[in-house]
């Protein structure tokens, strides 16, 4: 097991290096250091001298990938790519191009994202699984047909509609929660209840249908028939046996996203004014802030790899037959 974990962790370096190179190339195909400088300096009265000065101050006056002006190893080292990339592997994200400390920004903004994402995940999971199991329980009845119809209907509506309709109905017409905003601590409750509710309702259709498929497959197994033959009630069979045996695919879907939860949700956070990380990357792309873009892509890739590793490890916890060698 330890060998397996070490091997998987070693894979991280080439993957992250590849992601870093790809991000660098894609970013600088679209934007040049001059463009970045002009974006940061604004539209008015910007001279080429100011642009050159900005590049010197921020370290963008070097060649991108290869420096012909120097010799030896410095050809690779005295470049924007090397200077800006090497610190990432030490998880030192440095300053953004607008001068803010990126790690400090991330550590400040991740908490509101988590405050929204964790309840959405837990409540959503409970509701989806319960709803899916009930669909199985009432299989072949009008309740199942009604439930499936509801799922299809929920899936057919755009996520943005749920947000606008939810804000209109709950925030504006019923006046039960603030339409948008955020406060730290326990005061956050009144701000996140509506986005969590919307997230759960918006995800119910697809989630319940996905879990229903898993449970349907499980419920046709021999052990289910045996359990029923032994006189267990249907509810018992579903919630105690079918659910437990369907945990592997459920875990696959959940554990992999756990580390990414703090990365936030772009649209939900924008509409509800939640100061999370959801818009951090997209804002940086719009502002051509390469320092943030590379840091966030790097971090996202790293967390995704960790998520996949955790998923593999979790298999051994829920299914004793799985061995990682």
């Amino acid at each position: 097991m330890i060998n397996y974990i070490l091997r998987r962790l070693l894979y991280v370096f080439p993957v992250l290096l590849g992601v870093n190179i790809l991000t660098f190339v894609l970013f600088f195909v679209v934007n040049s250091p001059d463009d970045m400088a002009r974006m940061q300096l604004g539209d008015k009265h910007v001279s080429q001298e100011a642009v050159d000065n900005w590049k010197v101050q921020r370290g963008y006056d070097l060649p991108l990938l290869w420096n012909e002006g120097v010799s030896g190893l410095s050809k690779a080292q005295e470049t924007i790519f090397f200077k800006k990339s090497i610190s990432l592997f030490l998880l030192d994200f440095g300053l953004s191009d607008s001068g803010r400390d990126i790690l400090s920004d991330i550590s400040q903004r991740m908490w509101p994202s988590l405050a929204l994402a964790i309840p959405s995940l837990i409540v959503g999971l409970l509701v989806n699984i319960t709803f899916a199991l009930l669909l199985i329980f009432y299989r072949g009845s009008y309740l199942e047909y009604g439930g499936l119809f509801l799922c299809i209907a929920l899936m057919s509506i755009s996520g943005l509609f749920y947000i606008i309709a939810g804000q209109y109905l709950v925030g504006k017409l019923l006046v039960l929660t603030p339409i948008s905003g955020y406060a730290p601590g326990t005061d956050a409750f009144k701000f996140i209840i509506l986005p969590v509710l919307i997230g759960v309702v918006g995800g119910l259709g697809a989630g319940a249908r996905w879990y229903r498929t898993l449970f349907l497959e499980e419920s046709s197994r021999d052990y289910v028939r045996t359990a029923k033959a032994k006189g267990l009630s249907d509810l018992n069979v579903l919630f105690r046996h079918v659910l437990k045996n369907a945990m592997i695919p459920i875990l696959t879907g959940i554990v992999v996203v756990l580390p990414l939860l703090f990365m936030g949700s772009l649209i939900t956070e924008s509409f509800f004014g939640i100061p999370g990380l959801g818009s951090y990357t997209i804002d940086a792309i719009n502002r051509q802030d390469f320092a943030i873009v590379r840091s966030m892509v790097f971090l996202g890739s790293f967390l995704y790899i960790i998520g996949l590793l955790l998923t593999d490890l979790s298999y051994t916890l829920v299914d004793p037959r799985v061995r990682l060698d």
Partner: protein, 708 residues
């Protein structure tokens, strides 16, 4: 505070719970104070006055920093009055040999101008830990490292050194001030200081910024004593006074740079760019640019009172009600992050924001047009006590021709007639109606209303594209076609080759939102049987095309830095051509006579003689038509009944201190508009329970059923 969960659940279960507000996004204590609730949609990039240059940044720093002068709140045309200065400056002129010249000397003979500036005495900076010099060496271990407010603060009296230090900061290459390039053309010694600082920064990179700036003198800025100093500029440049009224020239204590140079503070994003230190009516208490920015009344604010004089129109509006009262009139300003317009608008209607603009989504809900075309508020807005303020902004949005282009550019009669023809065909009245909801005034020239040099009425008509018929009447399409024929393109075809004329519009608008606008533009050209090809690119490539002069036609805009015609006419000055000199003349327009008049006009005071020259310049530019003059946007803003003393002042950025709010009235309105509606939830719960019944019946049936 949110009521306990139990109460919330209880409310859901009972319909008798009627007097409860559940949706207040602010704390109850805050809601009952004289607090202004505002918002920002994008976090400000910079709060350092040497770097900030956009309206969302000025909304904050102009309340914290104070320059020497400000625009009178209630007088038009805009008038500069002293702020930190004791009086308006004494300006002296000097010749090339250093001799003092009389005030009426022509600009050509003036080699230098000196501004003798006197400061108010006894002005103190806001309390700030930067003035606690012990903290410059090390931060105390017991500090919570969360907020600067928990560090021991101190203050100090403002002196002329603080202004001089800020001008040095503007010149410092490390500051990256956007106006450094401009100021080095004016302030004596600025360019040398820039260069010397650049060298010093390279040679001694570990030297702290404050020490580095102190180590060299800027020859054009001279201290007389603690309350007096002199700025020497090249030539005569009356607009320099307007620059002195901008936050760029607000005083900065050296202690600020010394304090914020601590690496630990930088790691915490506690920098001068995010936590200002000023003398203004407010100080920045909280800066979470991802959630909210809070300004609080500066306890050290010097005595400044609400204006006692006003133009008649403002007197009639009751804007002298608070005359003589000590400023600021509110305790706190809270800017909340609101990225989307829909929730912002709804919160404004709920009374949780004091002021709102009107987005196109909510325009019909807020504004109605009478049968005579007058603009008013809808009944719903009136019932809420909301008032509407409109003002033509000091901005120009135009359609430009690249004068370096072979087809539409140049000084030939053919190209000029082609541009004039297109200028008639592009119907900006229709554009304003469709895309601006009527919020704009078709431009007759480059100078917007409210700026000296603008002429309204019959005398102000642009004869190239309009005629006067009890108002501005756009010339007919037939007249445009005649001009097009004269230009050598009868029916839109080249008279020599017979080929259809194809023109290119360069833009960075390529998304679905811009499709309607681009189609409309194609339609305008189709009227002349000209095919318009849209060349859409991203922002960077578009800017690049503009810089190297390869765009053919484009749309662009300009917001005034200060209320002087020079700040608009310089957009057509030949030496400012973007492709040739990197300036702001995006059309690359060059006309020797226009340039000569510009040089004459730019150093003049606002006199009848200056107006004559401006009229000549406008006449030349109208004839040459390097722009389709486009429109001047109209700003619409809505205010709640409890928000007082608001008036459009497009030049003043420090308006917040004049505003008064009535928190008791606001609270009453908020309670009235935000009563929680519980009964639909109770009915919903009841319906859900009804759904459970068939489920239970079905469950019992399944449980009782036999296996076979």
């Amino acid at each position: 505070m949110f009521p306990p969960l139990g109460l919330f659940v209880l409310c859901l279960l009972t319909t008798s719970c009627t007097d409860i507000v559940l949706n207040n996004p602010y704390s109850q204590q805050e809601s009952q104070k004289a607090v202004i609730y505002s918002s920002f949609s994008e976090r400000p990039k910079h709060l350092d006055p040497a770097r900030a240059y956009s309206s969302n940044e000025y909304a904050i720093i102009a309340q914290v920093y104070e320059p020497l002068f400000q625009y009178h709140y209630l007088k038009r045309p805009y008038q500069l009055v002293p702020l930190l200065a004791k009086e308006m400056p004494l300006v002296s002129y000097y010749g090339h040999s250093g001799e003092k010249l009389p005030r009426n000397t022509s600009a050509a003979r003036i080699a230098y101008s000196e501004y003798y500036l006197s400061l108010q005495g006894g002005v103190q900076f806001q309390p700030h830990p930067a003035f606690n010099l012990a903290l410059h060496k090390a931060l105390p271990n017991e500090w919570d490292r969360q907020s600067l407010n928990s560090l021991a603060s101190n203050t100090r009296t403002l002196t002329s050194d603080d202004f001089i230090y800020q001008i040095k900061r503007l010149a410092d290459p490390a500051t990256q001030s956007p106006i450094a390039g401009l100021m080095k053309n004016y302030i004596v010694g600025f360019a040398d200081f820039m260069q010397a600082q650049g060298v010093l920064q390279k040679e001694q990179p570990h030297l702290r910024k404050a020490e580095r700036l102190h180590s060299l003198n800027l020859s054009g800025v001279r201290k007389i004593d603690d309350l007096h100093f002199i700025i020497r500029i090249k030539g005569k440049y009356p607009q320099f006074l307007n620059w002195l009224a901008m936050p760029f020239f607000a005083p900065m204590p050296w202690e600020a740079d010394a304090f914020y140079s601590n690496a630990e503070l930088v790691k915490k994003n506690m920098t001068l760019d995010w936590f200002p230190i000023g003398t203004g009516p407010y100080w920045l208490k909280e800066n979470n640019p991802n959630r909210r920015i809070v300004l609080e009344k500066n306890p050290n604010f010097h005595l400044e009172t609400y204006p006692a004089e006003a133009d008649t129109i403002f007197k009639k509006m009751g804007l002298l009600h608070d005359a003589g009262k000590k400023l600021p009139l509110t305790e706190k300003v809270i800017f909340s992050l609101e990225k989307e317009s829909v929730p912002y608008w709804n919160k404004f209607l709920q009374g949780y924001y004091d002021v709102s603009g009107i987005s196109s989504d909510s325009f019909d809900q807020a504004v109605s047009f009478s049968a005579t075309g007058n603009i008013g508020l809808t009944q719903d807005m009136q019932d809420r006590g909301i008032s509407l303020q409109t003002a033509v902004t000091t901005s120009s949005y135009y359609f430009g021709f690249n004068m370096m282009d072979k087809v539409v550019g140049g000084d030939s009669d053919s190209a000029r007639l082609l541009r004039q023809s297109i200028s008639i065909a592009i119907d900006y009245e229709e554009y304003i109606s469709i895309f601006q909801n009527g919020r704009g005034v078709p431009a007759q020239s480059i100078i917007p209303p409210g700026i000296f040099g603008h002429v309204s009425g019959k005398e102000g008509v642009n004869p190239t594209t309009y005629r006067w018929q009890e108002g501005y009447k756009r010339r007919s399409l037939e007249e445009a076609k005649v001009l097009l024929t004269k230009a050598g393109f009868p029916s839109g075809r080249n008279v020599k080759t017979g080929e259809q004329l194809v023109l290119y519009f360069d833009t960075m608008d390529s998304g679905p939102d811009s499709k309607a606008r681009l189609n409309w533009l194609r339609k305008q050209f189709r009227k002349l049987n000209i095919e318009l090809v849209v060349r859409a690119t991203d922002y960077n490539r578009f800017q690049e095309k503009m810089r190297n002069g390869s765009a053919q036609m484009f749309m662009w805009g300009w917001n005034a830095d200060y209320p002087d015609p020079e700040n608009f006419l310089f957009l057509l000055y030949g030496k400012n051509a973007k492709a040739l000199h990197g300036g702001e003349n995006a059309s690359n327009y060059q006309n020797a006579e226009f340039d000569r008049l510009f040089e004459q006009m730019s150093s003049m005071n606002n006199t009848a003689e200056r107006q004559v020259i401006i009229d000549q310049m406008i006449s030349i530019s109208r004839k040459d038509a390097p722009w389709v003059w486009g429109f001047h946007p109209k700003a619409f803003s809505l205010h709640h009944a409890w928000y007082k003393n608001s008036t459009p002042n497009l030049m003043a950025n420090n308006k917040t201190k004049y505003v008064r709010v009535e928190p008791i009235a606001r609270k009453a309105y908020q309670n009235k508009w935000n009563q929680a509606v519980i009964w639909p939830l109770v009915i919903g719960l009841f319906m859900l329970l009804l759904l459970v019944v068939p489920a239970v019946i079905s469950y019992r049936k399944i449980e009782r059923a036999t296996a076979l």
